[in-house]
Amino acid sequence: MADSYAIELQVALVALLEADAGIAALVSERIYDEPPQPVMRPYIKIGDIEPRPVRSSCGKAANVVFGIEAYSRPNSGRIEATRCAEAVVSALDGAALDVVGYRTVYCRWLTQTVESDGDGVGYSAIIVFETLLDG
């Protein structure tokens, strides 16, 4: 039996991001759920995942809004975080996510922000997507 929408989606996201050559060129294998301390930058972190049930009479589905976060190196400025964000968008926008137990109807890029970190170490980008999982 498949796990919940959020967990299965996270597994699929990590697999897809790790397999993407554009992302590997920027962050190597540093794609984390919870980054280790101390962490080497740049890296990508799976952000917030917000599943919401789709109310219909013909079965179960969930609309899931999720974020991918990218953290740049100190002094590399906004450019590196933006490049990571673009690589993530290129990998996930319109992608056929292989979510175990569910059918991905669509996966769309909604928006993104790139801002200086609160601690002043570098820049971080949050890229937001929406996906509809059927099943």
Partner: protein
Amino acid sequence: MGVKVSGMKKARRLLLKITPAIKAEFEAANRENAELIVDVAKVLAPSKSGFTRGRIRNVPAVDGGQIIDFGPLSRILEGGTELRATKTGANRGKGPARPFVRPAMQGTKKKRAARNRKAIKAAIKVAKDG
């Protein structure tokens, strides 16, 4: 230059035909739009502790609309702060801006407009047929 009004009577007649079912459809579209904004804002909110995220929510208003509460820190995070200082005058710098409300509104604009158009089209169809 004068203003010519056309189709007012017809539009008014259609509006009078708005049934509770059509109102419910509008309310559902409003609620789904508000939920989408809330979800995107939660993902974009920069707080690591979850304090901000946990307080972002939508509540129904009495007129069928939706009120979105972006939490007590939203104003500070959205625009940053002026220069801050301690009681003794030591400089603590500016609080950085980490906007998440405006990006959430902008990023969902097209989808919300499309949902509204769909609800309006359905309402006009029902009013015309009825």
